[in-house]
Symmetry: C3
């Protein structure tokens, strides 16, 4: 039995997407991939292609770079949702200059309403040196706050380091 | 019963200050906040104001950007000290070109002498890519060494990720 | 009894080299240090000197900035190997524009063949903000993938934070 909300947090190239996929892949549910990446260059395109090839054809992919409420509301209980990832979504929200607090509240509410189990992936970005760029500093503050809120709402929180997931919270036990 | 020294380590916006406050707030002791931030722009001022509003009026705030020995020596056993944070203090020490090793030794000695329980907050800054800036590289080396020393001296060490504290060391158990 | 392969991962100045040394130092085996650092400036030289002084004269140091297969193949079962570190090795491989995938495969194979216990040290570099520099982004992707592979092959994986190692994997228990 999958929890309503699982939060998978990790650094870049830490194996967090694969960890998230593994949680859902044997659930017996219809696999839905909510893709938040906007493809603005070949570096992103290559990464998206790689992830898509690894996931395989049993996944339905829905592009949702900004509006996650609509696809989350349209899910049915026979589905399992992989939302990959909160970091790309936050990047899009900030670049488009949406109201961050309102959008974060709407996302958390939509996750709470969702009738299918959701695994949401996010990046840990705050354990390096202070960035010189003010936008980067704002981003890591916003990402930190979003991660805290997602961790608070999630039933199960995993931190992935070098491909190895470790549970930080599990309300089921 | 609070340990003599608790060390709370975490990334930017990881919830480490709140974790530290929660440790002290129900201690029944007089709450003292040793603030190390130098307010040189509105970005820092906003953050300081936000933290101060959250803590509430039961906290006495003492500004101590460089000299922590004096306020630590003046504490009484009916107080509980939150030192927030070692990273700002280290920034001030390095910008003022104090003797880092001497100052670190003095801080550790003052923490050992202090008659009230202390919770000290610090940033993890070494898990990103090598900074291009030599000063940033020196800073993360110095911060790493300071964190190791604080963790060694502390009775209880907590690492906070996404608002969730995890114990790395606890000499009380 | 030392495991065949121990993987020690940590941030900059986290105490990972010392953790790795401590694993081997009381093994009763002949201590061999495989040094991957290329000394291109005084900053690296100082660090290398500091590490060497700390390790002491019972260690035999072999410089191996790129070719790790040869020294690993020449080890004997009465030795214990400290490979410090995978991050410097990866830097050299990428700067020299070797075939990364081939070199990584060769390293993993040589580690599997090695007749002495090996402790390999590596940096966690993916928990900061996205680097603006494309080479830095490529490096952290490559470092992340290498860390995942090393963790997968290792019997014992330790993550070091503020000098405190925590086990992420241990196949011996």
């Amino acid at each position: 039995m999958l929890p309503s909300l699982t939060f998978v947090l990790g650094g870049a190239a830490s194996g967090k997407s694969r960890t998230a996929e593994n949680i859902l892949v044997n659930s017996g549910l219809k696999l839905v991939y909510l893709a938040t990446a906007r493809i603005w260059d070949s570096e992103i395109q290559d990464k998206v292609d790689l992830h898509r090839a690894r996931r395989g054809p049993e996944w339905t992919t829905i592009n949702a770079p900004v509006d996650l409420g609509t696809p989350l509301d349209q899910t049915t209980p026979d589905q399992a949702i992989l939302l990959d990832c909160a970091t790309m979504w936050l990047t899009n929200i900030m670049l488009d200059e949406h109201d961050l607090e309102a959008e974060q509240g709407a996302l958390l509410a939509a996750l709470a309403r969702c009738r299918a189990p959701v695994v949401i992936v996010s990046n840990e970005v705050g354990q390096g040196i202070v960035p010189e760029n003010v936008l980067a500093r704002r981003f890591r503050e916003a990402q930190g706050r979003l991660n805290i809120s997602l961790a608070q709402q999630a039933d199960h929180v995993l931190h992935v380091v070098a491909g190895l997931p470790r549970s930080l919270k599990d309300t089921r036990t």
